[in-house]
Amino acid sequence: MMVVIKLYLIAPEKYFEGVMRVLKKEIKNTNTIFVTTNKPYGHLINTFKKHGIPHNKTFFIDCISKYVGEKIEQEPENCLFVEGPQNLTAIGIAINESVKHLPGKKTMFLDSLSTLLIYHDSNTLSKFSNFFINKMRVLDIDTIVLALESDINKEAIKLIQSLADEVKKYGG
């Protein structure tokens, strides 16, 4: 089966609801790597449970908990904590190592490109996105990238639109 790269553009006022819908729709019975840049792991897990989204096959890369100074006493086995969303190289390494060592068919979620745009200029993020998407394509990993619809005119989002196989809007 061909690998599919999807970009979901979600209306800011319906972002949370939109993300939940996307997850319910897109999380399949395969190993999933979920990169979060805007919600800490603990909060995400509770949300997944609350909305009945299966997460037993999901490995999280949390780029926000450490950054906001959350104390992680006992690290969960299904989550890797990265220093912060400002460190794209570390995020890239974490993604690369995770996809390399996680066996079987995989799906990648990136939530969200809009948060990364807070920490990086459009040019830097475009380079990262180009690398990230093409890497996933080469490794045959279905990828779902989430972004705010209000960022549609930013260069990095425009680039992702051109690289993605499908662009979907939610709540706009």
């Binding site: 037993n56 190289t89 570390a90 974490a94 060592h101």
Partner: protein, 125 residues
């Protein structure tokens, strides 16, 4: 005189080399923005240009009355350049250590995750 011309040519080329090195150093910073402290290395390259310029002035005796002052300024510049290099490269070393930690941790975590999934599956059986 021949020595002077050779020295001048070498000096000019070394200044051009330092300008190119400063530019490349800044491009490297812009490309990956690994650490703000990398700019210290760029600044060190820029100071090298000034240092070379001062070297010219003293070597050719343009300001003979200020020779000792210029020598002193050159010494200070060399010291600042060394400090900037240490600062920049130290922060880069720290960064690379961090990346290595992330790489190792990611591998360990994935292995742990796979083991935990397997043991949960076995438990259900």
């Amino acid at each position: 005189m021949a020595v002077d011309i050779t020295t001048t040519i070498i000096g000019i080329f070394s200044i051009i080399g330092s300008v190119v090195a400063s530019y490349l150093s800044y491009i490297i910073y812009k490309y990956n923005r690994l650490a703000k402290a990398w700019l210290a290395v760029t600044a060190a390259f820029v100071l090298i240009i000034f240092r070379r310029g001062l070297g010219f002035v003293t070597e050719f005796g343009f300001l003979p009355e200020a020779r000792s002052t210029l020598k002193f300024i050159e010494g200070i510049l060399l010291l600042v350049i060394s400090v900037l290099y240490i600062w920049g490269f130290w922060s880069m070393k720290k960064n690379f250590e961090k990346f290595e930690v992330v790489e190792k941790r990611a591998k360990e975590k994935i292995e742990l995750f796979i083991r935990s999934k397997r043991s949960k599956a076995n438990y259900r059986k």
